[in-house]
């Protein structure tokens, strides 16, 4: 069968699908430069006013900083825990490996709302902890550890176990083996895990809304601002900045991943 470009139903469907996915996202930067409070066509003149207003909006910058701090902390803590869990699950004869894996992965399938309510009850009623960015971060770690563990398991299973044995055989103790062999080889996985956990925490709303005290994270703050129409363009400007930032982050992650898989493929097929 001859394949023609652009004229059959499938490519029309694909085009519509892409517009449906990315069209709304692209409206964000468009309206962030539009000189009007109202997000509606027709467009008025071009302006940087909303970016200036965003930069001067103290609470908004404060929320952004809170989110960045939480996300960075969550990414590091979850990845460390993920590496440890993955190492235990892939390298040792762990009794009860299946139920342990199940428990680690459970937060993936529990609705965030249930998790948030349960954590709120535990924190306030049982442990009597003040709500803060730390409680938000704790909740997010719970959510992110499964992602980190999955990423790290696939990376650790991807390389020859005898590499670590060879290092031990050549005189390394367990700690040296980890730093000289396991860590450098797992590095692409660690980067993906950091990025994944960072973005998962950065835009998480439900847990953050329940567990943050008087310090709001960015999603919670933005949602609270939607009641005031005149604040909306500033939020759009911020959204555009975040969009740009995420694009750069994704490109960076992809670059690391390709380098990583490139090396892994070469390992599997020794040249003859």
């Amino acid at each position: 069968m001859a394949r023609r470009r652009g004229s059959d139903g499938l490519s029309i469907y694909a085009t519509l699908y892409l517009i449906f996915l990315y069209g709304p996202v692209l409206l964000l930067p468009l309206f962030s430069f539009n000189d009007s409070y109202y997000v509606a066509f027709p467009l008025r003149s071009f302006t940087f006013a909303w970016y200036r207003e965003m930069a001067g909006n103290g609470p908004l910058i404060e929320a952004l900083r809170a989110s960045l701090q939480v996300a960075a902390g969550v990414a590091v803590v979850s990845t460390v825990l993920g590496v440890l869990a993955a190492k235990a699950l892939t390298r040792y004869d762990l009794p009860g490996r299946a139920p342990i894996t199940g428990f680690i992965m459970l937060p993936l399938v529990i609705p965030a709302l249930v998790l948030a309510l349960a954590l709120l009850v535990v924190l306030r009623r049982i442990l009597d902890v003040e709500l803060s960015l730390f409680t938000v971060a704790a909740g997010h770690v719970m959510l992110c550890v499964p992602y980190a563990t999955l990423v790290m398991i696939s990376r650790l299973e991807g390389f020859d176990r005898s590499l670590e044995e060879a290092a031990t055989d050549l005189g390394d103790n367990a700690w040296q083996t980890f730093w000289r062999i396991t860590f450098p080889l797992a590095w692409p996985g660690i980067v993906s895990s950091l990025l994944l956990c960072f973005s998962a925490s950065f835009d998480e709303y439900v847990l953050a809304a329940f567990l943050s005290g008087n310090q709001a994270t960015l999603p919670v703050f933005i949602f609270s601002q939607l009641r005031f129409p005149q604040r909306l363009p500033g939020v759009l400007a911020l959204g555009s900045c975040i969009l740009l930032g995420s694009l750069m982050l994704v490109a960076f992650a992809e670059w690391i991943r390709r380098r990583g898989t490139g090396a892994a493929t070469l390992d599997l097929a020794p040249a003859t």
């Binding site: 390389f159 020859d160 005898s162 590499l163 044995e165 060879a166 290092a167 031990t168 055989d169 050549l170 005189g171 390394d172 103790n173 040296q176 000289r180 062999i181 450098p184 080889l185 090396a263 070469l266 390992d267 020794p270 040249a271 003859t272």
Partner: protein, 367 residues
Amino acid sequence: MSGPESFIQIRGVSRHFGNLRAVDDLSFDIGAGEFFSLLGPSGCGKTTLLRLLAGFEMPDAGEIFIDGQPQSQLPPNRRPTNMVFQSYAIFPHLDVKQNIAYGLRNQGLSKPQIAAAVKEALALIKLPGHGDRRTNQLSGGQRQRVALARALVCRPKVLLLDEPLGALDKQLREEMQLELRQLQRSVGITFVFVTHDQEEALTMSDRIAVMSRGKVLQIDSAERLYEAPNCREVAGFIGSMNFIDGMLREIAGDVGVVDVGPLGLLRVKLDGAAGLPPGPVTVAVRPEKLTLSDQPSTDPVDNNLCGRLTTRAYLGDRNHYYVEVDGREKPLAVAAQNPRRHEGLGNPAGATVWISWPADAAVLLTA
């Protein structure tokens, strides 16, 4: 307590995985500077034994001594052994030089000392000037050599090799067999070599342990294993062998007389002056020790059997003729050299032939 004859002492060592006895109560010694092979089919426990020596497995019972020192309390990084892995386990994120220097960094050597040792090792494996190569630029044979250098440069008391030639093609493998043997002689380190390739074991080793189901069947030189196997399993595993079952009737001098039913009596020269009680035995004789002819041998000490030629297998340097003998299900294999380009016997299937062999060509095994 540990002389050069018993540099490595394996004493009652067992390793079980669930119900599987991977290594089952083994006791034997390996001498200093010996090229010792563990030979057996896959799953016979040879790799597990090697990993017990390296310290990657801990014995469930027994103890291993190397140079008089008990090993079971030592982790792999504190044992006087180094290993060449089946997959070579070359570190992909390090270059050739860094791979070879890996173990030296743990021995507290200075940088110039390490650099000198690496250079020497690269010369030893005939890859001088390859130190800065990325490991993914190396061919299979080169990776194998780097793995070897990385282990040897640490000056282990024992070098463990886990089927290191298995991944190479035939020509390269034969080349490496020779090189490895020469290298072992020049460095004088004890080699313990695991392989499932009997030819490889026979050509390289001082002594070979033939293993099966976690047990050692026989430990001997290549020649003894081939010419004097101690049981049917060893006889069948190494080379090809014809087995003829019968009853030992009497021992006349150093010759056993075996009654093989309709085939009559066979005379087999005994090696170790006749400890065998009368009873069921197996006469084992290799195809190349049989002679094919159109008439029986006239020498009175020779054994003769009459049969019908069925098929011929052409193997290039020799032919295998299969001869059906009355009263036997399996035909006997007879090997004959191919000295001429146009073979003499041809393939006259159905022709009546005589197989003969002298009394000292066969081995008597307890059935």
